[in-house]
Symmetry: C2
Subunit: 371 residues, 2 copies
């Protein structure tokens, strides 16, 4: 039932326990979709309901303890987790608080992710009733998640292949005069047809020679000749994500658009050359930024981790001193300004190996494709 | 560009400000996707990236202030919000904290949702650096969100119609021998074809005379004769959700399955009779629970609010004393046990009007449909 065999999850917990011993933590308290799924295999879309909190305790010794609403009991019991404690949720005045407090009672130093990209997915009022003073476990958890197992890499590779197949159909999917929101719809359907399980993330844009931004939902504006259409997808399979985009010019492209695209392609090449074990994220960033020069598109970084989430730590940014290791899955995502309020972005997904990066996405064409 | 005209959002802020004056709050601090979108119209799938925090301040007097990463500036400036303050994110050591602290400085009593269904969508370590002691604004915000405007009701009705059209194609979409995950895929595609913008939520199950749970992802098990297939969808349009399901028997149904389905149908009828202005959520719950008797399926409630989220407050539960008002959009969701470890569930979406409930979904058939 879970996405991987029990050994995969047990190995993750074992690594966490080794790190906890070194860090002097007695237990981890986890409550977000990704963190709970990472250690248990508990995967459900039901996290989209904000009503109920869910908790997982990973003790320094012994097995994890799930403290969850009864609606999730059957699914949690289908995972490798054996200690499953449930309450009827929603509850008028004690939505898991007593049960969680009791479960945490044996532990003195409780770690909880409290750094970048973390969230407290429970009512702050209830958190205060726990009367715990957790220490920050963000670095500990990210140190586990940075390096993917062979099973995880295979999962990301599979969804990247799905995305590549869907993008390969662009010439048949998109055409002049098509409304942008219909292009998005056609692309979502293509991703599902090619094997995506879920398509939680499709963003993009279109405009003459470039687009205004990269996070807006689409409107019904028709694609025009000379537009550059960009679609960026985070589709998923077994809970693992791809995150990449492609650009297409509609019927023709200006020289400026072609040139900007070539610069992005070269920046990605520089990233591919730099992304080797032992190099830092900052060095990979610098290699790409050197190609972009002053034209950087202003996204705030030039790539990031990828796996159980669409975007993970680390960032490919000037400040990120993290050293690349084999098994890290990253996106290379250079962006470029192409005139006032216009930009272009491209993205590839790679896994770092001893021999350098291996592309998980089918490499974008070196010249801006015209459809 | 935003989903509704500026007046819609301005009216929401005006209602909030009236409530803040009554509650003695000087400003609201909001940071979740739904809360920021509710007051601004800022809608993007980019919230799925956990890397960056986003903030909105709604002062008791004057206009809202957005404190956001630069990547969102163009989209936020396309909304009615005029005070947009940005920083380059991710940042090595100050990811919006100073900017937010400065923006909050004028306000003495800061309200923040800290009750049921709330989350702190920022690093706890950064929250502590704000050095604020917020008061709980959950009740205030839910009191605004409970009652939908005509524009909101229209949006929910539109996506419910999409879902109803997709379910009407069930006979052509699903058949004996089809793998459950392929049935999910076909249903997602049908929802998109019928007009859904996003399909963030599809859950369901299939089994002889009932299913094991209602939140699991599908596997490749083929649909068998005598299975009851249930699909539950939260599709969305303009950021508003439907949330309903339908049951279908594959080629034939046992008498027990037919009878359980009839009981669910009658429970929904009882809910439809009870869901009138002036009645409490507990009374609507009791009307449905009375039909189910001891057979309740154990989901923890028999319906809930619906709108900008798949599940919203209030719960249709024995403890919920909230009184129904015209404009409240609710789901009626009775579930029933049908033997050891098996259940069945049905769901309709309604809006409460002066004259009683209006169905937004096409009412489920009174007898279990066989396909």
């Amino acid at each position: 039932m879970p996405d991987f065999p029990p050994e995969e999850y047990a190995a993750r917990v074992a690594r966490a326990q080794t790190a906890m011993a070194a860090a002097g933590m007695d237990a981890l308290l986890l409550m977000t979709e990704v963190e709970v799924r990472y250690f248990t295999g508990f995967r459900t879309a039901f996290w989209q309901s904000s009503t109920r909190p869910w908790f997982l305790i990973v003790p320094r010794e012994g097995e994890p303890v799930a403290v969850i609403p009864g609606i999730g009991e059957a699914l949690m019991r289908a995972t490798w987790v054996r200690d499953v404690r449930v309450w009827s949720s929603p509850h008028p005045d004690d939505d898991g608080v007593s049960l969680l407090r009791d479960a945490l009672a044996p532990y003195r130093v409780v770690g909880m992710p409290m750094g970048r990209a973390s969230a407290l997915r429970m009512a702050m009022a209830d958190f205060r009733r726990l009367e715990i003073e957790p220490v920050n476990a963000s670095a500990l958890v990210w140190n586990l998640r940075y390096v993917k197992s062979p099973a995880e890499i295979e999962a990301v590779a599979a969804i990247c292949a799905v995305g590549s197949r869907a993008f390969a159909r662009a010439g048949a999917l998109f055409s002049e005069g098509m409304a942008l929101n219909e292009a998005f719809r056609a692309f979502r359907i293509a991703l599902l047809e090619e094997g995506a399980e879920e398509v939680p993330y499709v963003v993009g844009g279109a405009g003459q020679g470039g687009y205004e931004d990269v996070i807006s939902p689409p409107d019904a504006t028709p694609l025009r000749a000379g537009d550059v259409l960009m679609l960026d997808t985070g589709a998923s399979l077994r809970g693992y994500f791809c995150d990449f985009d492609r650009n297409f010019a509609i019927t023709h492209a200006s020289e400026a658009a072609k040139q900007a695209y070539r610069t992005l392609w070269k920046a990605t090449e520089a990233g591919l050359t730099a992304a080797r074990p032992g190099r830092t994220c900052a060095e990979v960033y610098a290699a790409m930024a050197g190609v972009l020069g002053d034209a950087d598109g202003g996204i705030g970084r030039l790539g990031h981790g990828l796996g159980t989430e669409l975007t993970e730590e680390p960032s490919l940014a000037a400040f990120e001193t993290r050293v690349l290791e084999p098994g890290m899955v990253l996106t290379l995502e250079p962006s470029i300004g192409v005139g006032p309020g216009r930009m272009m972005v491209t993205e590839e997904n790679i896994v770092v190996t001893e021999d350098g990066p291996r592309l998980l996405t089918q490499r974008a064409a070196p010249e801006l494709p015209i459809i």
